[in-house]
């Protein structure tokens, strides 16, 4: 009994096999790099040069063009990791484990960027580097979850059981994601409410919104590039004596 048609399931198994995935990553990477630059350059130019200064915050609000996309990515990558964790636990798919563990440092990086740039924005605008309100605290917990995933994986010798432990941690931690997102609505916080995802009308002027969306796209593509690079390393680390790695060595030689 299977609700996934056989050809599709076969396609996934083939693509998910390490050598196939490794070649596929190599094919995708140049295109992704081009796409990344196509989004990043107009995004940065639009955000730092073209967009007007804010009526209240002057030029300091330009931190938004990295702060908000980084914060979005910190949530997005964690949800993706939890999904990978679920797939790894149910279907015992090796590639899901590899993608999960390869995503963790990148997610931690984005979380760190969101926290640090938020702090650098908070000092001139709010008057403080840091407050323990619900939004900032839950985002800090997210950083610890990411670091927890990486260190738990490193601490367990057998990589199959390490991957299982990490999958469970990723799934448990996903409860923090809605808390971060809704913290500014459920509790009163120093952090303001959402700007772009508000239903009625986005409360950001169109000239400021376009670069923000470009930067968000650029960060997403950056994640794809970085996770493929990390996954390539992890695949070799997992099975250094596999035949496909030997073939790879011969190609390089």
């Amino acid at each position: 009994m299977s609700f996934i048609p056989a050809p599709i399931s076969r396609f996934f198994h083939r693509t998910a096999s390490p050598p196939h995935f490794y070649t596929l990553a190599d094919k995708l990477l140049p295109w992704l790099t081009v796409l990344f630059l196509l989004l990043l350059i107009p995004g940065l130019y639009g955000g730092l040069v073209m967009a007007p200064a804010d009526y209240q915050q002057g030029d300091s609000y330009r931190i938004i063009y990295i702060h908000v996309p980084a914060a979005w990515m910190s949530l997005f990558i964690y949800v993706l990791m939890a999904v990978m964790g679920g797939i790894a636990l149910v279907w015992r798919m090796k590639l899901a484990e590899v993608m999960l563990i390869s995503s963790a440092p990148i997610g931690a990086g984005f979380t760190l960027v969101a926290l640090v740039t938020g702090s650098l924005w908070g000092k001139p605008m709010w008057g403080t580097w840091w407050v323990w309100d619900a939004r900032l605290t839950s985002e800090l917990i997210l950083l610890f979850l990411y670091l927890g995933v990486t260190s738990l994986y490193g601490a367990i010798e057998d990589k199959r059981s390490a991957a299982r432990a990490v999958s469970i941690l990723a799934l448990v931690g996903v409860v923090n994601i809605p808390i971060i997102h809704y913290s500014v609505e459920w509790w009163n916080t120093l952090h303001q409410g959402p700007t772009v995802s508000k239903m009625d009308k986005p409360s950001i002027h169109i000239s400021m919104l376009i670069p923000l969306l470009l930067m968000a796209g650029a960060f997403k593509v950056y994640y794809a590039i970085a996770v493929l690079q990390a996954a390539k390393l992890e695949l070799i680390k997992r099975e250094p004596s596999a035949q496909w790695v030997k073939n790879l060595l011969e190609q390089n030689a």
Binding site: M1, P52, Q57, V90, M125, V172, N188, L190, Q192, H205
Partner: protein
């Protein structure tokens, strides 16, 4: 789907529901502690602590900011559009402090019912626009 996989999927689903419920109850229990500040209505109704430091949030009432002396002392009224509380603060205000903006002040109530702040943080709203647009928005309601 193979039965053992179905079982594992079910197990994960149950685990997620369990954690979600546990988190919901825990957050409900600590709801008060997760509030970053008290509102001015809380203070007027006596819900805010007496003789203890706490945070008070609200909108700076337009036209209420005054500097009674030559020093840094500032006096203004905070409001949540229902009750007002007078705040006194002596120190440097953040760049975003202005009338009609939200702030969060840390301090305590004195005998007169005045909130004496030791720290004032500005809370900014979620609106971003160029100054010209803000000006035209301001003019629009007046023209009607």
């Amino acid at each position: 789907m193979k039965p053992h996989r179905k079982q594992r999927l079910l197990l994960i689903g149950l685990m997620l529901i369990g954690i979600g419920l546990a988190a919901t109850f825990a957050l409900k229990a600590f709801n008060e502690n997760l509030m970053y500040f008290f509102s001015t209505t809380d203070v007027a109704e006596g819900k805010a602590p007496r003789d203890a430091l706490f945070r008070l949030g609200g909108m700076v009432v337009k036209g209420s900011v005054e500097r009674p002396g030559a020093d840094l002392l500032v006096r203004f009224k905070l409001s949540d559009f229902s009750k007002e509380v007078t705040v006194e603060y002596s120190g440097i205000l953040p760049d975003l402090f202005r009338e009609g903006q939200g702030i969060v002040a840390m301090g305590r109530l004195d005998g007169r019912g005045v909130f004496v702040a030791e720290e004032v943080l500005a809370k900014h709203d979620e609106n971003y626009m160029p100054p010209e647009v803000a000006d035209s928005l301001k003019k629009a309601p007046e023209a009607e």
